[in-house]
Chain length 362, copies 2
């Protein structure tokens, strides 16, 4: 029997069953997987990370471990992706896990909830403070295993047709907003809308919605929101440091030899740090172009931020009272965030503060 | 001839010559390298990154690509490490490249110079704005190739026996300080000292020096500086986002098959993001312990920061006038930093600002 045929019959790459293979086959078996991204191919930043991941894995194995990458909706809908990976329809996905708050709000903590840690703090919790281990206990109940795979940086608060000054201005405001933020802001009268990326622009243009948040300058510019909703608010306080995950069907992950697990882990980190670097490198010029094209930059008022923080903490207490998974993961996350900001205000923040003011003076 | 013997004779792992190998041998040859870190094994954070790098490479290749890691000074002195890698005495090193400013000040830009970009901005420049490509052109002249491999975050400004208020207080101050910062602060009367990690404590205790900077709370705590120099200043404005590099002898790097190059690249990124996460996760509790043990936290005065910035810019102009490598790399770095801070003040800084103030209020 030829080696490739043996491996196929043994189920590697097809995943029919986990098998014990001879050592030589284990080291570099032929594996072919499909990965669906939660994002459209037009987003070279966030979709691009899945391509980077797959390319390095293929290169490092001389093409023996191949992962074909699909854009949002090409196999299943983005909001069905967690189920599709859990039941093995596709081997793996790449997403901001807050897309799956409908299944369980605990998924939101894996990515971002309002007033969470910033990007580096989130990485620190995930990699070095047991965050990813806690999440993987939870993910296992849904049939998959997660690897940290990127972060967008603090997002923008989105595009508004009218200026926003007081909490009163949120009353009845129809806004496209993702994750747990809609549930939080509903407490302040906002009417959250779930709308896929491509449908946001026409909804804003027709006035079906009053506001929409997407990501940040570089991604937002592609969708052209500034033309129909000129007020561009910051910061996106519901996405202070949104993490992405590569997530893999449990059985498929367990079938991989140790060597491929190690490779996938480091390739996910590389795709992740490279994604954040892409956002950080591309956002400044995009922001300049947007402002040049008429976008009106506005900070959220202190009143809105304070009221939103209060609403967020109420929401988190309610969830802790009824969802043990949420409670377990959230308590670790909240305690870590508080310690982090204690330290952050010393070296990091003071340094950024001086640099920003020095730059402003030229 | 057995496969392993063939590979040995062909020089793989011994590096006698670059050879064309049959495809199957190219994919996973036996390679054994030595890596010396610029840091002592006691620093699980910054030394530990080299161990993480080596462990994942070994796992991903079933032990076929093995890198043995040595601590500072175990093969050559830390300040000789760049030469040792360049001439092939050891295959690779891991360091903050500003240790090699004595060879060429351009090395400092690869790690940190006073008032440089912060950690994420530095990653963005290196990975996505051509920074690492420019550095690799420069590194090639010294015989090696670099991979981005970590960042400590903004460091602390160090430990001082006396309080520091005005620029006048820097006059004659003998300080252990690394990289290009000593040269900059000399313009303000400071007397920089080059002292290895283990010798700093006795020098401070005896009063041979007046101040010393090392890294940040977690690493500094291990050396016990707070007992002999209680004033702990921030931020370390000469290390706003110090990058680390894995650097590899040119010939050894070129000998690697494409698969191992891909693996080393992603393993370096993983070791890097994990190092930053370790610092971010461990510094908060260490800072609490240091303050509990009597450390007096102090921000540098605005006067000292302003005068240091002026001295830094003068130094950079002088270097640009006489060193073409410096000029080429610095111009890319400076322009990028300015763009980054334009964007940073919008979403990231505003978010951190709110979170820090909300935390302080409880």
């Amino acid at each position: 029997m030829k080696r490739r045929e043996f491996l196929k019959k043994a189920g590697v790459g097809l995943g029919a069953s986990a098998v014990a293979m001879p050592a030589i086959a284990q080291s570099m078996p032929e594996v072919k997987w499909r990965l669906q991204s939660a994002f459209p191919k037009s987003l070279d930043t966030i979709y691009g990370a899945a391509e980077v991941f797959a390319r390095y894995i293929s290169e490092a194995t001389d093409g023996k471990f191949q992962i074909q990458v699909f854009g949002a909706g090409e196999i299943v809908g983005t909001f069905q992706l967690a189920d599709a990976v859990g039941n093995g329809t596709v081997e793996m996905g790449h997403a901001t896990m807050y897309y799956y708050v409908g299944k369980d709000p605990t998924f939101a903590i894996a990515s971002a909830i309002p007033f969470g840690p910033n990007t580096r703090q989130m990485n620190a919790w995930l990699y070095e403070a047991g965050g990813q281990d806690l999440l993987n206990e939870f993910f296992a109940k849904h049939g998959f295993f997660g690897l940290v795979g990127g972060n967008t940086g603090t997002q923008m608060g989105g595009w508004f047709r009218k200026e926003l000054k007081t909490v009163q201005d949120l009353q009845g405001l129809k806004m496209r907003i993702g994750g747990l933020a809609g549930q939080v802001l509903q407490k302040l009268g906002l009417v959250p809308q779930q709308i896929a990326g491509g449908d946001i622009y026409p909804a804003l243009e027709r006035g079906t919605i009053d506001a929409a948040e997407w990501v940040g300058p570089y991604d937002d510019e592609k969708l052209g929101f500034n033309k129909v909703a000129p007020f561009y608010y910051y910061p996106g306080f519901w996405e202070g440091g949104p993490a992405l995950h590569f997530f893999i069907n449990n059985a498929k992950w367990n079938e991989l030899p140790k060597s491929y697990k190690a490779l996938a882990t480091v390739a996910a980190s590389h795709a992740g740090i490279d994604m954040t670097a892409k956002y950080d490198a591309k956002n400044p010029a995009a922001l300049r172009r947007l402002v040049g094209a008429g976008a009106q930059l506005r900070p959220f008022s202190q009143e809105i931020l304070e009221a939103s923080l209060k609403a967020a903490n109420e929401t988190y207490d309610e969830l802790s009272a009824k969802n043990p998974d949420w409670k377990k993961v959230y308590e670790s996350y909240r305690a870590f965030r508080s310690e982090e900001y204690l330290w952050w205000q010393v070296a990091e923040y003071t340094y950024d503060n001086f640099m920003i003011r020095a730059r402003a003076r030229g």
